[in-house]
Amino acid sequence: MLLRMNQAIAAGIRDEMRADPTVVVWGEDVAEAGGVFKATVGLHEEFGDRVRDTPISEMGFLGAAVGAASTGLRPVVEIMFIEFLGVALDQLVTEAAFYRYLSAGEVTVPLVVRGSVGAGMGFGAQHSQTLERWLVGSPGIKVAMPSSSRTAYGLIRSAIRDDDPVVVLEPRALYAEREDLEPSDEHIIPLGQAELLTEGDDVTLITLGNTVGTALTAARNAAWSADVIDLLTLQPWDRQLVFDSVSKTGRLVVVEESPWSGGWGADIVAAVTEELFGELRAPTVRVTTPDVPVPFAAELEARYLPASDEVTRQVDGLLETGRSIGPWWLREESLR
């Protein structure tokens, strides 16, 4: 059936709730209303009190979820916009993430935190970031980001089954995207496994979430051919698949909806450069957002996001000159 990404997420949670009575869903307006982004629609009707609306208190209900997870439940918590973790981060990365370690393995925290991320929807500076940087590097947690209905369904199911805290960052620009999908166990996607979407010889394009489509569009119309990899899980990321691809192509371009400074792609670049330096035929390139708050005006927000034609320009430049042409905002005439 054709499912929007938010419907696929609801389906994934539903299937885990049917299979496991310990799975519960908590968040602001996730019950009757089915969530602000409609990613929990139908769950309250089917599972009643296992799906609960919370007061506006992320620290409170995320902390409660940590306690519930420590005592046998598998809470799936919705953080409506990922920025709201800024009032509750402690419970996720300082408490939940360390609980297994600080109990010598006795206490586990099978907690899932779902947060909507990303720009392109006109929500402004405080509701448009991806903020994976708050999470990556925190020992004890896993971080995943779907790029479609299929991957959203597959990842949320793995996340719920995982015995450690897993954060699923959902690109809100994709919630309404439709994809044909028959929800079933074989669509479960193991955490830590990336997907090779297209095969090519000239360059490896590492993508995640909303930039998967950006890179595919660029690759489709390009003069060059690329391995386009959808990373899917950011922590731990699939080193093997990435290394194998770059060993083959000799060129690495990371396409990130994340700032030039502190974006997740730097980790990939650093690992590749350390492991595969001898096989690199050209500089690594990161196509990112500029280091600015996400602007509201549609014209600016569109420029803020990594664009497929910018990906094309970057790879073209890399292949032609053997050098990086640098980020667009350093090239842009009107900004001189």
């Binding site: 609306d53 620290m59 009032v87 402004g124 500076a125 405080q126 602007p295 509201f296 803020y304």
Partner: protein, 333 residues
């Protein structure tokens, strides 16, 4: 008066007059309706939180607050901004992401700001503005001003940590700040009884030994008096005050919300207490305003807001450089 030839401070000062308060409430109502209409026409990106039904809170706040005072409010801030002096063009320009907007279109509906009228950048994070207002009050006093801090927030915000920490700090430090809670009974789609142990939120002030009270938010006259007394107390006597304003939003939480979650009859009952009707009827019955006068006032305001709509629709978007300006004192890149 036309927005064009009037400064924001003039607009603020005008509120000393009750007819001007009625006019301002009408302006807020028409502006919010225009925003919803432009939304329907696909002219507005993202979201927008309008405040129809709560206009009396905005004008009363702007009437009793001096320009020395510093106000923090939320994404539901169009009415407060207009009452404090911002023009419809500036508000709607920001909502549409145009250069004429409050901050040039880089912020949007949730992010208005105007230093000259004492409005700090509005907050899109629930509760965040509460401790900020406490600090702003300290800043004003250290600067030798008799200004106070004013934190405007909703009923739902009283459940978040920043509320608790902000009120406790203001109490132990004796900070001159008014905590103004707009209790419109809903936090997004959840009614207060499902998220909070009781509806009389002013009771929470006792946990901090803060003098607290509830007031009617629909009658602009009584609200100006009662809020005025609290502002005076905060300005002249040590420590903060907590005021719970009982009000109601006649519209959904944000554009897309049709508010199916309302209790039946609740909306009608509250619409019976439309703040614009209450003040308009009283001014008319007192003979302050004639029927025709009232009608022409409404026409004037509607026309003025429509002019502003035309202006912002025709206004250009910010240019690319705006995206990189004002990130830090140094230029970004």
């Amino acid at each position: 008066m036309s927005a064009a030839v009037t400064t924001e401070l003039d607009r603020r000062a005008a509120l000393m007059d009750r007819v001007a308060r009625l006019e301002r409430m009408l302006e807020i109502r028409r502006t919010e309706e225009s925003i919803q209409a432009m939304f329907a026409d696909g002219l507005v990106n993202g979201s927008a939180h309008t405040c129809q039904g709560q206009e009396a809170v905005s004008v009363a706040l702007a009437t009793v607050a001096t320009t020395e005072d510093v106000v923090t409010c939320t994404y539901r801030g169009h009415g407060h901004a207009l009452a404090l002096g911002m023009t419809p063009t500036t508000v709607m320009g920001e909502v549409l992401g145009r250069e004429v907007g409050s901050i040039g279109g880089v912020g949007g509906s949730m992010h208005l700001s105007d230093h000259t009228i004492g409005l700090l950048p509005t907050f899109a994070i629930v509760g965040a503005g509460i401790p900020v207002a406490v600090g702003a009050a300290i800043g004003r006093r250290e600067a030798g001003s008799d200004g106070i801090g004013v934190a405007v927030f909703g009923d739902g915000a009283t459940n978040i940590g920043a509320f608790h920490e902000g009120l406790n700090l203001a109490s132990v430090w004796d900070v001159p700040v008014v905590f103004l809670c707009e209790n419109n009974l809903y936090g997004e789609y959840s009614r207060i009884d499902r998220t909070t142990p009781f509806e009389d939120l002013h009771r929470r002030g006792a946990a901090y030994d803060i003098p607290s009270r509830a007031v009617d938010g629909q009658d602009a006259d009584t609200l100006v008096d009662e809020l005025g007394a609290e502002f005076e107390a905060a300005r002249r006597t040590p420590g903060p005050r907590f005021v719970e304003v009982k009000t109601y939003r006649f519209v959904g939480h944000s554009r897309s919300d049709t508010a199916p979650y309302r209790r039946s009859g609740e909306l009608d009952a509250w619409m019976e207490r439309d703040p614009i009707a209450i003040l308009g009827d009283r001014l008319e019955s007192e003979g302050v305003l004639s029927a025709e006068g009232r009608a022409s006032l409404e026409r004037d305001v509607a026309a003025r807001v429509q002019d502003a709509v035309d202006v912002v629709k025709a206004a250009p978007p910010p240019d690319l450089a705006a995206m990189f300006a004002h990130v830090t004192a140094q230029v970004a890149r």
